[in-house]
């Protein structure tokens, strides 16, 4: 099992969710986050005061998936989240050692 974490542009969230559903991903968790990468920030001007905003708003999605779905899932996120411009985000893949469904007590791939 793998845990796929992706940082994407906020307005791409719906497309990514649809793409993941289409390949059979059962559920994702979404968090609004801020951060910086190569895109860097921008400046904001309030009357005389200028501020550099380093952290831009992004969306972080997390999905626990079966190992055999990994390549498809990565491809789905890559395609749906891409604009071709700087700041499209990144995908991180982790090994997932255990999953437990709280309601039934199922474990492993059955719980996904």
């Amino acid at each position: 099992m793998k845990l796929v974490t992706a940082i994407i542009k906020p307005f791409k969230l719906d497309e990514v969710r649809e793409a993941l559903s289409a390949i059979g991903v059962q559920g994702i968790t979404v968090t609004e986050v801020k951060g910086f990468g190569r895109q860097k920030g921008h400046t904001e001007l309030y009357r005389g005061a200028e501020y550099v905003v380093d952290f831009l708003p992004k969306v972080k999605i997390e999905a626990a998936i079966k190992t055999e779905l990994l390549e498809q899932a990565i491809e789905a996120i890559e395609k749906s989240a891409s604009t071709g411009k700087i700041g499209d985000g990144k995908i991180f893949v982790f090994e997932l050692t255990q999953v437990i469904r709280i309601r039934t007590g199922e474990t492993g791939a059955d719980a996904l």
Binding site: E44, L45, Y46, R47, G48, A49, Y51, V53
Partner: protein, 499 residues
């Protein structure tokens, strides 16, 4: 050729101005007669029974308030209250960080309440009764002697309004002025220090300034040259000099702007100023506040006419167009020098225009008002950027940059654009009962400058001493850890937003 054009312009301006004044004056006796018919029980009863209205008016010993004027003044007073709570509170509140939102709302709200009570205790008496040219007397302490039948003079002979509504209208001016100062030291000042400072400053700066600029015995005392001289001698110091301030450029805006600048220096900078981001937490609320200020300002400016006449309408349209022009001007220059026109720039430009037109609104023509607005929009933008950097103080919400600079532009500009040759109404001569024929722009600007300098010195000195006293008694700032945590939780025990 130039002379000819100037002559033509002068003639044009005079012919434009004359009917306005004529209408104004003609309206006064007519309304008097009307109200003698409409409300006989309030007029002297014997006179009311007498058949012809004209005879009744002549025989009536004391003028009775006109219902239209009274109704207008009640509406105007409510509008000025709208400016402060919620208008100014939201305008300022949106500009601070979320952790200090409630502290700003509280400072404005409670200052308004405190000054309201102090005003009726002793403020009205010191500002608006006869004393010396700098301080009034104590005859109206606790509003003693005022009844529902008491009247206050207006700017027309024989026209009065109920004194209670005059007290209330002036109360709203006295209350908003200290609230303006709050913007200079938000996010770091002790709540108790704000209240104590403003109570002292109100007593020794606002009240004498209001007395100096606005107190006079009323137009009815100006019967002939000798009486006029006597009446003028009883008026406030700057009134005697002939300073023009229709709705409070000196008394309200320069006065508050200078005290704010002193406050920003004395209280000191916020922790992290120019190192950490101190971005406004809700420009939406700031826009709502600025819009409420604009709407309320019609009561402030047009209400300062004290009667529902053509001059009130003049002040109304000036308040409308000067503000619009200042907004456009600010945004134009902001776009030119900073790259983008901003919502905060638009809201700030509107307030700058409102401030600048305040002293001028009843004296200048609409084109003069637009010129004033354009100048104020450009110079106040400089006031909050270039000038602010030069001054080096953390005047957090730019009280000096907008109200101080805008107020000075307005006060001096009044002297220029009140000139009949520039479409202004000139100066009314209450002895001759017509507009004075001669108007010297240079002389009037000199008089206006006297008013500006007097206000700067008076307000600055009083503010400095008052801050010193408050610092010694209770201290000005909250401890550093409270400032970092935010004043909402540490000073008031609550949080503005739960999301």
């Amino acid at each position: 050729m130039k002379k000819l054009i100037a002559l033509l312009a002068l003639f044009g301006a005079c012919s434009l101005a004359a009917p306005v004044i004529a209408q104004d004056k003609a309206a006064a006796p007519a309304t008097e007669a009307k109200q003698a018919e409409a409300k006989p029980e309030a007029a002297a009863p014997v006179a009311a029974v007498a058949a012809p209205a004209a005879a009744a008016a002549a025989a009536a010993p004391a003028p009775v308030p006109n219902k239209g004027d009274t109704a207008w003044m009640i509406v105007a007073t409510v509008l000025v209250i709208l400016m402060t709570i919620p208008g100014l509170a939201l305008f300022y509140g949106g500009l601070v960080r979320a952790k200090n939102m409630l502290s700003v709302l509280m400072q404005v709200f409670v200052t308004f309440c405190m000054i309201s009570v102090l005003w009726v205790f002793y403020g009205y008496s010191i500002a608006f009764t006869e004393g010396n040219p700098f301080f009034g007397g104590f005859s109206r302490l606790f509003l003693s002697g005022i009844t529902a039948d008491s009247t206050a003079a207006t700017f027309s002979k024989g026209v009065v309004i109920p004194e209670y509504i005059y007290v209330a209208f002036q109360l709203t001016f006295a209350a908003i002025t200290p609230c303006l100062i709050v913007g200079a030291f938000v996010e770091r000042v002790k709540f108790s220090a704000v209240l104590l400072f403003l109570a002292i400053w109100f007593t020794f700066a606002y009240l004498p300034m209001a007395h100096m600029v606005w107190f006079w015995p009323g137009p009815d005392a100006f019967t002939d040259a000798a009486a006029a001289e006597k009446a003028t001698a009883a008026a406030g110091w700057l009134f005697q000099k002939g300073a023009l301030d229709f709705a409070g450029g000196t008394v309200v805006h320069i006065n508050a702007g200078i005290a704010a600048l002193v406050g920003a220096y004395v209280v000191g900078k916020r922790i992290g100023y120019q190192k950490e981001a101190m971005t406004p937490h809700s420009l939406t609320l700031t826009m709502v506040g600025a819009a409420l200020l604009w709407v309320g300002w019609f009561g402030f400016n047009a209400g300062s006419n004290l009667e529902a006449t053509g001059t009130a309408a003049l002040a109304f349209i000036n308040t409308l167009v000067a503000t619009a022009a200042a907004t456009l001007s600010w945004l134009f220059f902001e776009n030119m020098f900073k790259g983008r026109p901003s919502m905060l720039g638009g809201a700030s430009g509107a307030v700058a225009g409102l401030v600048a037109i305040t002293p001028a609104c009843g004296f200048v023509g609409p084109m003069g008002a637009i010129a004033l607005g354009v100048i104020a929009g450009a110079l106040c933008l400089w006031g909050v950027s270039g000038l602010k950097r030069m001054l080096g103080a953390d005047d957090s919400l730019d009280v000096f940059g907008v109200h101080g600079v805008g107020g000075i532009i307005g006060a001096l500009g009044t002297g220029v654009f009140a000139a009949p040759i520039l479409g202004g109404s000139g100066i009314y001569d209450y002895v001759a009962n017509k507009t004075a024929a001669d108007y010297s722009i240079m002389d009037q600007v000199t008089i206006q400058a006297t008013g500006v300098i007097t206000t700067i010195i008076w307000s600055g000195v009083v503010a400095f001493i008052a801050f010193w006293i408050v610092d010694k008694l209770i201290g000005l700032r909250v401890p550093e850890e409270q400032e970092r945590e935010g004043l909402d939780v540490t000073s008031h025990g609550e949080t503005a937003y739960h999301m």
